[in-house]
């Protein structure tokens, strides 16, 4: 359930809190997405989008962790 994909906020189209929307780009496409549930996300941020709504802002640091972990394993260095 809950097909949701990452996209990058490009601009804010409507800044009213309950109607907040913005252009989000997904690879080569852009679409107007409802941002009312991610008031903390600004242009440049990545969000996860489901059914036309951003449901979460992606944390870039957390996103790197698994790769760091696997790189560690590889070198057998203590991470």
């Amino acid at each position: 359930m809950c097909l949701a994909i990452p996209g990058k906020i490009e601009d804010i189209l409507n800044a009213l809190p309950m109607e907040r929307t913005g252009t989000v780009s997904f690879g080569g496409i852009r679409k107007e997405i409802n941002l009312a549930f991610v008031p903390e996300a600004d242009p440049g941020d990545y969000v996860i989008v489901h059914a036309g709504f951003a449901i979460s802002k992606i944390n870039a640091t957390e996103a790197r962790r698994i790769f760091d972990l696997l790189a560690c394993d590889e070198t057998d260095a203590p991470c």
Binding site: M1, A36, P39, G52, N59
Partner: protein
Amino acid sequence: MKYMHEYRQAVTIRQLADKIAAVTRQHWTIMEVCGGQTHAIVKYGLQQFLPAQIELVHGPGCPVCVTSIDIIDKAIDIAARPNVIFCSFGDMLRVPGSEKDLQSVKALGGDIRIVYSPMDALTLAQHHPDKEVVFLAIGFETTAPANAMAAYQARKKGINNFSLLTSQFLVPPAIEAMCQSPQSRIQGFLAAGHVCAITGYESYPKLAEKYGVPIVVTGFEPLDILQGIFLCIQQLEQGRSEVENQYSRVVRQQGNLPAQQMINEVFECQSQSWRGIGHIEQSGLKLSEAFRPFDAEQKFGLRDKVSSANNKYDTAGCISGDIMQGLKKPCDCIHFGKQCRPESPIGAPMVSSEGACAAYYRYATFNESDTFNKNAAFNKSDTFNKSTTSEKTTTRRDQ
């Protein structure tokens, strides 16, 4: 695409597979709760990277699969009315009701539109003030805020020709129900990352503890799922039953507070019927009192209408309920790949590509013993039987 393709690379997948193999010593049965995860597991052939001792069973987390026949029949009733524009997510059109599906209502002239977002349905209502626009609001906690926002804006803007036919499910009560079932073989859960993006995972520790099951909040990319499995197996082998968050780039412990607030404003909990499974207390969401004018069942006088118990699908031997509770696999069903195929589904899990049956059918694993015969009907000595027939353990992990 960033945050997507880097989680699908063969090299890192292989690394994690090796880590999993290294920690696995026993047979373990793990359920991925979410249909999106089932889809990814089968699409990317992730079972091929797991040791034979790890058995994945597929949970009820596909709203297309668990929406009750009763709701489908009500949707069909409404969609067939002359003055209605009926809006739905795409996959719902093929789900069989007791007599037919929405697609065949469309074929007979019903005005049924596929929408990408509940807000698209609301926009249609604004553009067609002379029509009743009804949105089939299915979903889990992930979709509930979007559905809620549509109702909220309709009320705020006085768009009174808009209503929702709701079929909304909550995950934690379902996990608890499965844990309580005496037949359950599930020893650990991969919790649905996108549900937790909304809800957080503060309610999970007491489940993990009470039923002695590790719960790993897991994402949807191949690497996410394998890491989720790794963390779960690691706990199981170490005798732990804790809550871990594999999907920390998206999920916060407390979840999405504005979204939770919107759900609370518009919906209230209710007992909910899950297709093939039955009623589970407090496992659903319905419109609260203030939003009752936007309830399609009420608007169209269907609140008390109950479908005839006797329907051609659920009496036809479909074992979708058992499959979604992890008791059986699609290939255990006598219809799988024979009468029941994606182009002519008998049960809902053959409809949505997230449904376990459809996912198994569509992304059949290559196997030397010829998985499919030419007509694409499955034969008995099927790849997928491998794991289920290997060892019918009913051992529940106790600690």
